[in-house]
């Protein structure tokens, strides 16, 4: 963990680290009350060493060198810093507003002394001037189906997609700002409500970060209960997503089967934790309440049945040329592109990058479990589906192992003591979409001073537009559903 005022040293350290590691995120923090200036942090994950390094830069003139010309995956993070902190990333290639579409007047909202922040009135963008053979298809933010809001602008040459512009952050709620000044126990409820489908993963990352800052060790039983529900979240997501992918090509039987199994899983979740989405179960300090071993076993039994059903569904998909024809070679993400743009999770693993934070940077007892990282090479929608299918196998296997390994006794929830002001900590978890990082700095009386959330969807969204060029517009639902990224996760 380094913090420097020297720009050259900072750049050099990141350059060195990213040669054999991956830039995870870049974010800013208003540290004027501590260090007299703003700080820019970059997190770089080194899989080989099993470590995530943090590089901090103190910027005295509210400017910092842009990492984007060197590492393209930094582009959106730096635009966000520019929008919300008003810090200037020098030589950034494209600084148009990312978060608040029409830009803002007044103070920059994430600064501590911000008083008036007024969002300019937003008007839908006008059509661009295009050559005669091209036309634009604007879609969203209100879509035809039950989907989250995003504005997609396809530049078309007939049926072929030439270019896709994605405008996101429609559901930007400024959650990171609303957490500031709240006690971490109260802030928890907002932090886990960043996203519904990744709520466990957010709760896990957040809670682990709090515990790390407080130097609090939770019981082994609580750890296993946590990853038990984390795998339940992965299961319902993956099975639901595989069914949903079939909706992109009108395969109604598979859609119904996926939805039916997802419903069965959600009901198991409710039996176990009282919430279909496993909400508010993982808490800073452990879990909300203990679950008897018999209940865990019962859930695993029920899941074995659902799993059998699921295997029949995958057989149905395997030898269906009409279906495979739609998903194979659709939305190809080449390994080189995935590496360069910093893909994570299912998208990375389907493009031949064998990374999984559960094995690369084990947390919460994953290190004691046996499972392989699932990897495919093709990088298309079919490969992403195969990764999900194999991860369902993995998850069921992990649940079986947890039931065997879990220690019968252990305090479910332990108290968290006083955390010194300006303590910082970060933690991660693997959501169904990839690595989810929460970075926290504490203020006085156990309040949150700053919380930065890098969800898996944040890393992968900028990649989606690259994967559709050359496909036809009717393939976009398939490409989009094969990535299955949350809008709420990235928007925050």
């Amino acid at each position: 963990m380094t913090l420097t005022k020297n720009v050259a040293i900072w750049m050099e350290a990141i350059t060195q680290a990213t040669m054999h590691g991956k830039l995870q995120c870049v974010f800013a923090n208003d540290e004027r009350v501590i260090n007299g200036c703003f700080a820019i942090y970059a997190l770089v994950a080194d899989c080989a060493a099993g470590k995530i390094h943090q590089f901090g830069l103190l910027t005295e003139d509210e400017k910092f060198p842009s990492l984007t010309p060197l590492i393209p995956s930094a582009a959106w993070y730096e635009r966000e810093i520019h929008d919300l902190f008003g810090l200037q990333p020098l030589e950034h290639p494209d600084l148009k507003p990312l978060i608040i579409h029409a830009g803002m007047t007044g103070d920059f909202p994430m600064r501590k002394d911000a008083v008036t922040c007024v969002c300019n009135e937003y008007h839908s963008p006008q059509p661009n001037n295009l050559p005669e053979n091209l036309f634009e298809v604007p879609v969203g933010p209100i879509h035809a189906g039950i989907i989250e809001p995003g504005h997609f602008r396809f530049t078309q040459d007939g049926e072929d997609i030439v270019k896709l512009d994605a405008t996101l952050f429609f559901t930007h709620r400024g959650i990171e700002k609303t957490l500031e000044g709240k006690h971490f126990d109260q802030a928890y409820f907002s932090a886990t409500r960043i996203c519904g489908a990744c709520t466990v993963s957010h709760a896990l990352s957040y809670s682990q970060a709090v515990e790390q800052a407080a130097n609090c060790a939770i019981s082994s039983r609580a750890k296993y209960l946590r990853i038990f529900v984390a795998e339940l979240e992965r299961l319902y997501n993956h099975i639901g997503d595989i069914g949903n992918l079939c909706a992109g090509c009108g395969f109604a039987v598979a859609v119904s089967a996926g939805a039916r199994m997802k419903e069965a899983l959600l009901r198991q979740n409710e039996q176990l934790t009282g919430s279909r989405w496993l909400r508010d179960y993982i808490r800073p300090g452990g879990v909300a309440f203990d679950i008897p071993d018999d209940d865990l076993k019962e859930v695993v039994f029920a899941i074995e049945d659902i799993f059998e059903d699921f295997c029949e569904l995958t057989e149905l998909l395997d030898d269906r040329p009409a279906f495979l024809n739609r998903v194979e070679s659709t939305g190809v993400l080449a390994k080189t592109v995935a590496e360069r743009l910093g893909a994570v999770g299912v998208a990375a693993r389907a493009s031949g990058i064998a990374e999984d934070s559960r094995t690369d940077f084990p947390y919460s007892g994953y290190g004691e479990l046996e499972f392989d990282v699932v990897c495919e090479q093709a990088g298309d929608a079919a490969a992403r589906m195969k990764v999900r299918i194999n991860e369902v196998w993995n998850s069921v296997n992990i649940l079986r192992q947890i039931v065997e390994l879990i220690s019968p006794v252990g305090e479910p929830l332990c108290a968290i003591g006083e955390i010194a002001p300006y303590t910082q900590a970060f933690a991660w978890s693997e959501s169904a979409r990839g690595m989810n990082i929460h970075w926290l700095m504490f203020g006085e009386n156990n309040t949150i001073f700053r919380c930065f959330v890098r969800s898996a969807s944040y890393a992968n969204w900028p990649i989606v537009p690259y994967c559709v060029s050359g496909d036809i517009i009717a393939d976009f639902p398939i490409v989009n559903k094969s990535f299955e990224l949350c809008y709420a996760c990235i928007d925050r």
Binding site: I100, P109, Q186
Partner: protein
């Protein structure tokens, strides 16, 4: 093809009536305030509520379900077990805008059918996924004559989720304007009903949907269970006595 048909027959009918989909025992639903037990008046429940859903006017605890995220904190800190979550999920309430006249006009225009347009005004996607669940074979929303449509022009009811964000305010207003009369607005989930889940921020425009549109039905929950959403819709249609 044969494999598919075989599969359909093997699965059989899985559809259930919404009234049969009862919550699990651990589900945190409606709050019960036991007057008989001695409430010490310690106000810990009011203090710990992260979304300001509880208040104490004199004696007793008043729960504003529109704000409640059903996290269970109030029941957890209550020293006398006066406050308990019951596994009851059907909490839909009419808004003050839903007059008998509007209800009659909707019933006479639409009969037994209702078409819904989903409108995400800044949700976390949990409510949206529960809405998707309404269309799965288990809940099979179409059995009640209700369905989702692709355009606000075809819709009778807007189902709004999320606390209204700055970026979605224009879309919210334009969609409402595009929906034909007579129309209903249903606020789904704690963000849309109460708007206190995150509090106020530079990116949130007011929060609750009723700050922008006249809301006819509130379906609280975080997220509401599918059965509770169906109950809300049927209540709006006046099918429930």
């Amino acid at each position: 093809m044969l494999a598919i048909i075989r599969r359909i027959f093997k699965t059989g009918i899985v559809t259930e009536k919404y009234s049969d989909c009862q919550p699990a025992d651990r589900f945190r639903g409606q709050l019960r305030y036991n007057d008989s037990t001695a409430c010490k008046g310690c106000n810990r429940c009011v203090g710990i509520c992260p979304t300001k859903a509880l208040s104490k006017p004199g004696c007793g605890v008043l729960v504003n379900y529109n704000n409640c995220i059903f996290c269970g904190e109030c029941a957890r800190v209550c020293p006398t077990n006066t406050l308990v979550h019951l596994p009851k999920d059907k909490l839909a309430e009419f808004g003050e805008h839903l007059t008998d006249k509007l209800r009659k006009s909707i019933l006479s225009t639409l009969g037994r059918s209702l078409h819904i347009r989903h409108l995400d005004a800044g949700s976390c996607n949990a409510c949206d996924f529960e809405m998707t669940a309404l269309l799965n074979p288990v809940y099979d929303l179409q059995q009640y004559g209700i369905d989702f449509v692709a355009s606000p022009r075809h819709a009778d009811l807007l189902m709004v989720t999320g606390c209204v964000t700055q970026n979605l305010t224009q879309a919210l207003k334009m969609t409402y304007a595009a929906t034909a009369e007579p129309k209903l607005v249903l606020a789904l989930g704690a963000c849309a009903c109460g708007g206190e889940v995150f509090g106020q921020s530079y990116a949130i425009n007011g929060g609750a949907v009723d700050k922008h549109l006249p809301v006819d039905i509130y379906v609280p929950g975080c997220p509401p269970r599918p059965a509770a959403i169906i109950q809300g819709l049927l209540k709006a249609l006046g099918k429930l006595r």
